[in-house]
């Protein structure tokens, strides 16, 4: 690959994906292989892992060492936390969220999944669909990752046998149907040998689908291909008050990110929760005036009318306004070592708004391995449950399955300011 090919010329945007599996499944080796074969790993990094590989008595370079992060992880030989890795192919930039596979790290998997648009689920060809495969798939679908890629790894250890691959595929499809997962693809790979990752290799001739990297290159970058309602949570209000510049005297810019949908100059908008209405006068980005703004773009909106708007308000298109609510039903993942206390008041951060919240009820806790519902009165770290929360002030929310940005919230413990829970409304 020549130099300039590395600079994205045909810009196919940015794809965030998640890798799920344990070190035993070859997850670290897969990531190492992707970085290595796309020439992302540089000589000094390679030198360092060559040295470590030799020190540990390995004959070949252990690519999994590339993802060893923290001192404590190296000492214990486990992955504790989500790590983010980057590579670029010349067509697209990638952000990998690398989540640990162990059962006790459900919270890390949920964290990593929350920003991903595709998940690679690794299966060891010798072991087939395991409990953890089901858990990872369930969590990926719970957090609303639209595209799953099941990579059957270690094909080299089963003689690249097509029958093994087909059996695992059938097993997986049988339970995926129950989860309602729609877009799932399968690929046989050997991360260790590099087969079907970036290069096709010569030992999987019976597989005629695209390589793993080809699938990544062509996956949709948008979270959903469906048109979504316009949602613009106000982050900051700009009132320059510059006495030297009288033109700015009446300037009121509402700063935020288009979380979904799009907006154009002249569109009729409603501000929630107040219900005040106006039209978009101008859309600015760094001094430039834009005719419209699309999802994920950070801009400043100026409106025709002077209305009172502050951080925490939501600007929507007039015809697409959801109702403010004071109680929400949600699926939550408890993230903290301190269990949920039904008696306490917590803080809910939803879009750019913070409100006080109390538990109204817990419907059930879900066993993420069997998907069975269990009665419970409390929640501990890594629990996934259906709950209902009472809110001190109304929020303007969508169902998570309809809108990731306005359907998600986090729960904060005010005594420590820790983020203790993650919730999905609906």
């Amino acid at each position: 690959m020549s130099a300039l090919e590395h600079i994205p010329e045909i810009d196919n945007g940015l794809l965030r994906f998640l890798t799920c599996g344990s070190v035993d499944d070859g997850k670290s080796t897969l990531i190492g292989r992707l970085l290595f074969d796309t020439k992302t790993i540089l000589a000094d990094t390679l030198n360092a892992i060559e040295k470590t590989s030799a020190k540990r008595g390995m004959s070949a370079v252990d690519l999994s060492l590339l993802t060893d992060g923290l001192q404590a992880e190296r000492e214990q030989g486990i992955t504790i936390d989500v790590a983010y890795r980057y590579f670029s192919t010349g067509r697209r930039k990638y952000i990998i969220a690398d989540a640990p596979g162990h059962e006790q790290y459900t919270r890390n998997m949920v964290t990593a999944a929350s920003t991903a648009n595709l998940a690679i689920i690794l299966i060891d060809a010798r072991k087939g669909v395991l409990t953890q495969t089901r858990r990872h798939s369930y969590l990926a679908s719970l957090v609303g990752i639209p595209h799953l890629l099941v990579a059957v790894n270690k094909m080299d250890l089963v003689d690249y046998d097509q029958a093994v691959f087909e059996r695992i595929k059938a097993d997986y499809l049988a339970f995926a149907a129950r989860l309602g997962i729609k877009d799932v693809r399968f690929i046989p790979i050997s991360a260790l040998e590099g087969d079907m990752i970036v290069d096709r290799g010569e030992r999987l001739g019976w597989y005629d689908g695209p390589t793993l990297l080809d699938i990544l290159e062509n996956a949709p970058a948008a979270h959903t291909e469906q048109a979504e309602d316009f949602r613009f949570p106000v982050q900051f209000v700009c009132r320059p008050q510059d006495s030297a510049n009288p033109e700015l005297h009446d300037y009121r810019g509402f700063m935020g990110r288009v979380e979904s949908g799009e907006i154009a100059v002249g569109d009729a908008v409603t501000v929630l929760p107040s219900g005040a209405t106006s039209r978009v006068k101008r859309i600015e980005l760094g001094g430039e005036h834009l005719p419209r703004a699309i999802h994920e773009q950070s801009v400043t909106l100026l409106l025709e009318d002077e209305i009172d708007i502050s951080r925490g308000d939501l600007i929507v298109k007039a015809a697409e306004a959801p109702e403010p609510v004071k109680q929400i039903d949600a699926t939550v993942c408890w993230l903290s070592e301190t269990p949920l206390s039904p008696a306490r008041t917590y803080l809910v951060r939803h879009t750019t708004r913070e409100v006080k919240a109390k538990l109204a009820r817990i419907d059930y806790r879900l066993d993420v391995n069997t998907l069975e519902q269990e009665a419970t009165t409390g929640l501990a770290m890594n629990d996934i449950a259906r709950i209902s929360l009472k809110l001190a002030q109304p929020i303007v929310a969508d169902r998570y399955q309809d809108n990731r940005a306005t359907g998600a919230f986090i729960i904060i413990d005010e005594s420590t300011n820790n983020t203790v829970g993650a919730g999905m409304i609906g």
Binding site: H6, D11, L14, Q71, A72, R92, S114, T115, G287
Partner: protein
């Protein structure tokens, strides 16, 4: 069935939009933030992002530089000029003042002051009561940083606890802290060195001259080029050569090495960055090579 593919942002536009969102969250959630501006390329990008985030208003935070007293003059001159052009307030706090106070004690006169910036930074945070420091660190720089949050919590001793970080989901950042604690916010966490150079090119950002190829006396040592300066004079037996070099990072003179290069434009640097075979820190930072965990150790002690 074919559907129209939804329009999405280019990778640079996406990174820019994310960084602007993060800057506005800091401004919206924190009472008294500060942006750490060194005159280096990453913080130069931060300033452009802050302009895009907050103009035509003033920045809702001052700029601050923790000066080791061992910075290249080209860089500190640039720092002052850029702050003046923007019309924003620049605070400079110096490691030498901490040394005079006795809070920084060097092991020997020639010791790199780089890691001692942590002490001066914590003193400045206390002096001004900052509850958030916005920095230009990137996750691709180093292994420990790959695991750090975009809003990273520090306790009242400025310490980072890598095993006890706040979970960070969606783009719902939690920048809350109690008095005495603070948040380090990293808007360009998801950028790589190449992204930074592409952004500099696209936005036509001005940089200190030492980022571009120039002739400089150096000594070759341990695979690195050590610049010969008043602070780092050649020792007996050193072979001093005039070499065409540029800096990939600009830090403390005593621990930042240039690389051989004839790239005298952003375009040439971009081409070099795309083909380079050594990581940014590997090629240039003498302080990171001491141990595999040295950055993590410094971060735990309050480093950026």
């Amino acid at each position: 069935m074919s559907t129209l593919t939804k329009q999405t942002l280019s990778h640079l536009d996406w990174l820019e939009a994310e960084a602007i969102h993060i800057l506005r969250e800091v401004a919206g959630q924190c009472a008294n933030p500060v942006l750490l501006f060194s005159g280096g390329k990453d913080s130069i990008c931060l300033l452009r992002l802050a302009e895009k985030a907050f103009r035509p208003g003033r920045f809702p935070f001052p700029l601050m530089h923790i000066d080791t007293g061992h910075n290249y003059k080209e860089v500190t001159d640039f720092r002052d000029k850029r702050a003046a052009e923007l019309g924003e307030r620049l605070i400079v706090r110096s490691v030498e003042d901490s040394m005079a106070r006795g809070t920084v004690v060097l092991k020997h006169a020639g010791e790199s002051r780089n890691k001692h910036q942590s002490v001066t930074l914590l003193e400045a945070i206390e002096e001004f009561g900052f509850d958030a420091c916005i920095g230009g660190a990137r996750r691709d720089e180093e292994k420990a940083r790959a695991k750090e949050r975009i809003m990273s919590f520090r306790d009242e001793f400025g310490q980072w606890d890598p095993k006890n970080q706040r979970p960070e989901l969606w783009n719902l950042y939690n920048a809350r802290s109690h008095k005495g604690e603070n948040i380090r916010a990293f808007p360009i966490s998801n950028w790589t060195e190449l992204d930074v150079w592409q952004y500099i090119q696209r936005e036509q950002l001005e940089l200190p001259s030492i980022y571009f190829a120039h002739t400089r006396p150096v000594v070759r040592k341990a695979g690195l080029l050590q610049p010969v300066t008043e602070l780092t004079p050649a020792k007996d037996g050193d072979v001093v050569e005039d070499v065409l070099v540029r800096f990939r990072t600009v830090g403390d003179i005593t621990c930042t090495a240039p690389v051989e290069s004839d790239a005298d434009t952003v375009e040439k640097i971009l081409a070099e960055t795309a083909t380079t075979t050594i990581t940014e820190r590997g090629a240039t930072r003498m302080d990171d090579q001491t141990s595999e965990a040295s950055m993590e150790q410094r971060k735990k002690e309050g480093y950026f």
